[in-house]
């Protein structure tokens, strides 16, 4: 199964991410986001961060999850590639995220993702699919 597909947008970039369940779709959305930012294949799994997020509802959780990962990139320069979701509910999730610090000699940055947006954001429980548009 495809982990994610990009959505064309005039100024920005979006994605649909899929999974066998919602936690996997959330993990694939994060993987897709980092695929927009950089060549994920060049990232090694040497650092782990436990990322805990909560929100008022499942859509808010997706928004918060992706934006929390962007925060780690801004503050710690961490590029993630692997996302093990340990706990998952409608309003709270915990994940171990693995990746490494950005190294300009090995990592090619493709896009600056400013933020995940709420515009047409969707969590489809039946299809285990999520959709999000990023501000580039």
């Amino acid at each position: 199964m495809k982990r994610f597909e990009l959505i064309e947008h005039t100024a920005d970039i979006g994605l649909n991410a899929y999974g066998k369940d919602l936690p996997e779709a959330f993990a694939n959305a994060a993987y897709g986001m980092f695929s927009i930012i950089d060549e994920v294949d060049n990232v090694r799994e040497v650092e782990t961060r436990r990322v805990e997020v909560s929100a008022d509802d499942i859509e808010g959780l997706l928004f918060e999850w992706l934006n929390s990962l962007l925060y780690y990139f801004d503050v710690e320069m961490l590029l993630f590639k692997k996302f093990d979701i340990i706990e998952f509910g409608d309003t709270r999730m915990v994940a171990n995220c693995r990746g490494e610090k950005y190294d300009s000699s090995r990592h090619q940055i493709k896009h600056g993702v400013k933020s995940a947006t709420y515009h047409t954001l969707e969590v489809d429980r039946k299809e285990n699919r999520v959709r999000v548009i990023f501000d580039i």
Binding site: T10, Q108, I109, G112, H119
Partner: protein, 485 residues
């Protein structure tokens, strides 16, 4: 991608109305500024739907407007202008966007393109090396928490006080680079953390530094007041915003507003338009935080200005006095401002959201700097990196019609992936080189996405705002060196 198939009425050559009846819930009509040719393209994506959605905002007055550079955004269309009554209307962080106070500034020099061209490669290298750009770049400035607070309150003045630039720069910056009402306590620790390492960095995407020259002057007397004297004169542009600090402020308050909407019983068709009454605690908190991000962005452009001046003078082997490098003006194109405007014959306090739109105040307006009192506020419209940019001035007509607003750039025409399918970064580089434009860029693929073909022709965009009377053309510039993150 489904476009707009709803109602649309032609008002005149440059104005198109989306009647309230087009979508149940619209409180006012929508108004798109475009000519017939541009309109066809505008209707192809979701931008028009977004103009209609913005018309749902409680307290909106006049029209939900879109400038001719309009394109599909998130929540608001890019190129959107919406004014709401402060008394009973709302403020929406989505109407400002994530890059709060993304904006442009223009410096003039005393040099001609013939004098600068032989040094262009060295100049582009020097600017590219001196100004941290691209993702993953860290700034040269370290701030403790007290200093960060000062940046958020004082904006450009903090930068000038710390040796970045000249006191006079403040006079020709919108809001003097220091919008009042900034409240650092309303900015989350996370936002401050994100902003700390990034002060004095350009960022990536469509942000750029550009060396250009004046290619045409339309209003010599007005241009003269701005120090834009002659065709061939070299000028410099800086385009960037509030970096991670602004993005985090937007994130934080969109979440806050979603909660507030339930509390105040507000419904909007897109969660990205989440909003709260301007006068509510949530609305006031966002205003206080947004103004901090705006001040951070002004400090950011001010620091970058200083390094660009240093690089320019070093390469050209001359002092700043000889080089000139005066700041003509600095405008913001992502912001919400509390302003007084006439609505149905009465002066009313409004919250004017400009999302990818520029303020365009006329001559004589108290917020226009004294040196421009007779000509009106300078407006800077960067085009794409291969063609032109424009300097305009605001008009009375803009004051009457658009709450003193106009377009902000060329506006995107095609998606990033479509751009990359059509042209490679290498080809863009070669095409620009053939036009005599030197480029330094952090990423080649990023360059492909910013190719001229991805943007509308800024000549058409400016033609519409001029034709509609909401701005006047003063001068046009052509790039000779572009530095991108």
């Amino acid at each position: 991608m489904p476009g707009w198939s709803g109602q649309l009425e032609k008002i005149d050559e440059y104005r198109w109305r989306i009647p309230k009846s087009a979508k149940a819930g619209m409180r006012v009509d929508g108004l798109i500024y475009a000519d017939e040719k541009m309109l066809h393209q505008i209707l192809e994506d979701k931008a028009t739907e977004q103009v209609a959605n913005v018309a749902f905002l409680p307290g909106i007055v006049g029209y939900s407007m879109a400038m001719p550079d309009i394109h599909w955004g998130y929540g608001f269309a890019i190129g959107g202008v919406a004014a709401t009554r402060v008394s009973d209307g709302v403020i929406s962080p989505g109407g400002v966007g994530f890059d709060i106070n993304c904006g442009v500034r223009l410096m003039r020099t005393n040099l001609t393109v013939e004098e600068v061209r032989p040094h262009l490669n060295k100049l582009a290298d020097a600017i590219f090396n001196d100004v941290p750009s691209g993702l993953g770049s860290k700034g040269n400035i370290k701030l403790n928490s007290r200093e960060m607070e000062e940046v958020l309150i004082k904006g450009s003045r903090w930068a000038v006080n710390n040796g970045y630039g000249r006191k006079e720069d403040l006079l020709t910056t919108e809001e003097k680079g220091e919008i009042p009402g900034a409240d650092p306590d309303r900015v989350s620790a996370r936002a401050k953390e994100r902003g700390n390492p990034q002060l004095g960095t350009l960022g990536s995407g469509n942000h750029f530094l550009e060396v250009a020259y004046i290619d045409e002057i339309y209003e010599p007397e007005i241009a003269q007041v701005m120090g834009l004297d002659h065709v061939g004169q070299v000028v410099l542009y800086v385009h960037c915003g509030s970096r991670g600090l602004g993005y985090q402020v937007a994130d934080d308050y969109i979440k806050e507003m979603i909660r507030a909407m339930q509390k105040y019983g507000i419904e909007v068709p897109d969660r990205q338009l989440a909003c709260a009454p301007v006068t509510s605690p949530e609305g006031q908190a966002y205003l206080g935080a947004m103004r901090c991000a705006a001040n951070y962005a002004w400090a950011n452009r001010q620091c970058i200005t200083h390094w660009v001046r240093e690089a320019f003078c070093r390469v050209m082997e001359m002092g700043e006095a000889k080089a000139g490098l005066e700041l003509v003006y600095d405008v913001t194109h992502n912001i919400a401002k509390i302003e007084e405007h006439e609505v149905e014959g009465k002066k009313v306090k409004l919250c004017v959201h400009r999302k990818g739109a520029t303020r365009a105040f006329p001559a004589g307006h108290p917020d226009v700097p004294p040196q421009y009192a007779k000509i009106g506020q300078p407006i800077l419209i960067p085009g794409d990196m291969g063609r032109f940019s424009y300097v305009l001035v605001g008009t009375e007509q803009a004051m009457k019609e658009t709450f003193g607003s106009t377009c902000h750039g060329a506006g995107r025409l095609q998606s990033r992936s479509a751009a990359k399918r059509n042209i490679s970064g290498r080809e863009v580089l070669e095409a620009l080189d053939a036009k005599g434009i030197t480029v330094r860029a952090g990423s080649l693929s990023g360059l492909a996405e910013e190719a001229s073909e991805s943007y509308k022709d800024v000549n058409d965009v400016v033609g519409v705002v001029q034709g509609a009377g909401i701005s006047n053309k003063v001068a046009r510039t052509r790039p000779i060196a572009v530095i991108k993150g």
